[in-house]
Symmetry: C2
Subunit: 454 residues, 2 copies
């Protein structure tokens, strides 16, 4: 398709950059000296800088020396937990939950969640994330923040069976009330916490609601091997088998972590009726000293997409999806004992198309192509740490950093321009959040929202 | 010591920052609202902002919202190899050496080395590195660059036994000719490549020269388990036992990598007569899919310092010591199966005092304290990814990134100020280096400088 001035002025033209494009085999390639023409929030065309030079446009970005990538997608996080960043360090999983995080979360207010989400969105916009899948409490507040700050998100209100039916009902109310909001940037999911905190009856009810209302399900499962071992010992089945027998695998399901997925789970995941994807956040697995990472190769072998994620900043310390991309490549090589596996191009495939499918947006984001949403980040490769360039995919995955993102665009709207955040007032958020931290982090009451006992 | 105007104007005063300081047990602490007074290239005092406010100074930095750390130390790299960044991707070690790196290095000219070193120094200054231990060829060119750009370095001219005695003699000539140059910023080492490329006679001769001339030795050893297994099969001894029997362990020795160090090596390393340290560059071990990382806990248990390193950018893709610090913490937790091990404070100890001792400068750098060289970096923690701060050590190690370094100072001289590099012209270096890449990377000749056959 050749762009034409007859279409009227474009909303935005980004020119003189290198653009990551996918071919019909989903292989990443790079169009040099290219221009992206944006209309109505969509990519209209990817053309040459010369061809775009004379087209009228409301706004232009000269992106010389920069690479345009599909915006990164954080496929599993708990954005408001940035408020707890660094609060629970160097602890085993059980103490992390029971002694710090779940006691502190019993203090959470809507305002804490809102401020945390706003800070998290600022961090993600700065780091080139254009879409995130969030799984937390008081999600009305997160939806408000997403609406304001301009990001795209798949949001789910988390629940435990310990909350009674009200938890599941609130998750459904949230999902139905918010889907399609923020001009379509918000999609929603049902969000049971995990098979070890949500019983089979609740999971089965969730699966039925998902089918009835056409909603996906986002939950934690087989987070680590301990959970799988305990599930086997107590129930004789793995967490994935629980998902299968409760019907969750028949829905469109996004499973967080899955480092405890076993060989016997793989056929179930591979032949699931719904769209099945796993979100991998490898940094936290190292930090908790879990014995394994997400089995990416085995999941790919049965056709399951693996999206990149950061988990919450209370465990991961950052929402840096770029780091997750590099670590996924490094740790998968190490885990498989194979330096040829999970090349930079494979890592980019996880970061783009696989992550887009994982959050249920495989047809609309994850690629810079005509008709896709204009979710684009511009990365500066002129820094000494990204020169010279022998292999652009390797430069992007292994040399560039999230801090090299200069400009972040969602639906054609510029959320950060040349390093300047346009939709979040970080100092003001930090000021108010800091004032609230003593009340938020108080553990003197002895309460916790839930018990970790896999 | 109270600073006094009677001493005459200070060279530099950095005020209003938080300063990482060590107590007499080498524990890291943080002095708030502090000022660092620099005279004659040394830290004169660490005092309060108020106490420093009225002292005269030739130059002042208001470092509000920033943390002052001892400059990072890259304990093992091959700086000029940034020219090959991304050239040999996703390959096993043997193919990496034999098919790409060693053929390409047969083309190296002094000018390539100089340009590579200059780009590397720019990258390191930007990332908060103030000192690096370099092990490469044509090191006169590297020494020139270090002199110009203002960094501190421990430099060694690498040699193989395949070069005959001339290799060793050149390494000695370089070490004697350059030590103490650049106003004392350059120190030198003898630099045999490794026990698998330098024979026992050459290693023994190196040890004798080290004693005779008071020089340390910097070399690769037990880089991975394959090397240890092959050494055992061929010679009946481990690489570390080779170092012991050839007298290298009796010198002040800096061993790169050591992921193949075995339990039987530990007593030898622990009771060595000289100063023994290991440099760990964990990113590359993952990328090559080596089965283990440096055994940091076991080395610490026998009193061996472990410094942080990046190795060359041809394997590591960056010279980002900050990333090495975070990865060391994460991978050691994972390797030991212990989330309580290698806390952020331990990581900072590796990054500061242990790394300083590893490069033989334990008395002069690695800490911000009176009498130490003023090698200081200022880190901005106002970004959304480093807020809020519940635990400053954790924020530094797990949330901050090398890109958060704003200012880099060596011997009191500002090499980067508020993100602006002052001593390297990056675009000009990249321009000339890029022109030279076709000749540098040509492998049509079939030569290589050495054969990898452990």
């Amino acid at each position: 398709m050749t762009p034409s001035a007859a279409d009227g002025p474009a909303e935005l033209i980004i020119s003189a950059c290198t653009v990551l494009v996918h071919d019909d085999q989903e292989r990443a390639g790079f169009a040099e000296d290219a221009a992206i023409v944006v209309r109505d929030g969509l990519v209209d065309t990817v053309t040459t800088t010369a061809a775009a030079a004379h087209l009228p446009a409301a706004e232009r970005i000269d992106a010389r020396g920069q690479v345009a990538l599909p915006g990164l997608i954080n496929c599993h996080t708990h954005a408001p937990m940035v408020a707890l960043r660094g609060l629970a360090e160097d602890l085993p999983t059980e103490e992390w939950f029971n002694d710090v995080v779940w006691p502190v979360e019993s203090n959470l207010t809507d305002r804490d969640v809102e401020l945390g989400a706003r800070l998290a969105c600022a961090e993600m916009i700065r780091a080139g994330v254009t879409c995130f899948a969030d799984h937390y409490f008081a999600m009305d507040a997160v939806a408000r923040v997403v609406t304001e700050c301009g990001l795209r998100a798949l949001l789910g209100e988390a629940f435990f069976s310990s909350q009674g039916p009200e938890g599941r009902e609130r998750s459904l109310r949230f999902a139905l009330g918010h889907r399609g909001s923020a001009d379509g940037r918000i999609t929603t999911a049902l969000a049971p916490h995990a098979p070890y905190t949500v019983d089979d009856a609740d999971l089965a009810a969730t699966a039925r609601l998902a089918h009835e209302h056409g909603l996906p399900v986002h939950l934690h499962a087989a987070e680590n091997r301990d959970q799988t071992d305990t599930s086997l010992a107590r129930h004789g089945v793995t967490p994935v088998e629980v998902l299968e027998r409760t019907g969750i695998l028949g829905t469109d399901v996004l499973i967080a972590h899955g480092t405890g997925i076993t060989d016997r789970d793989l056929p179930l995941l591979g032949r699931a009726d719904g769209r099945t994807a796993v979100a991998s956040a490898p940094r936290g697995y190292l930090k908790f000293a879990w014995p394994s990472t997400t089995p990416v190769r085995a999941l790919r072998d049965v056709g399951v997409d693996v999206g990149l994620a950061t988990d919450g900043a209370a465990s991961n310390n950052s929402l840096d999806v770029w780091e997750s991309m590099a670590l996924t490549s490094l740790l998968q090589k190490s885990a498989e004992g194979d330096p040829r596996w999970l090349t930079s191009r494979q890592a980019l495939h996880h970061a783009t198309l696989q992550s887009a499918r994982a959050v249920g947006l495989g047809d609309s984001i994850g690629s810079i192509a005509p008709g896709r949403r204009a979710d684009i980040v511009l990365v500066d490769l002129t820094g000494p740490h990204t020169q010279p360039v022998h292999d652009l995919a390797a430069t992007l995955v292994h040399s560039a950093r999230s801090a090299d993102v200069r400009t972040t665009i969602v639906d054609g709207r510029i959320l950060m321009r040349d390093g300047e955040l346009l939709t979040v007032d970080v100092p003001e958020v930090v000021r108010e959040l800091t004032e609230r931290l003593p009340a938020l982090t108080d553990r003197g009451h002895g309460r916790r929202i839930q018990e970790y006992d896999t």
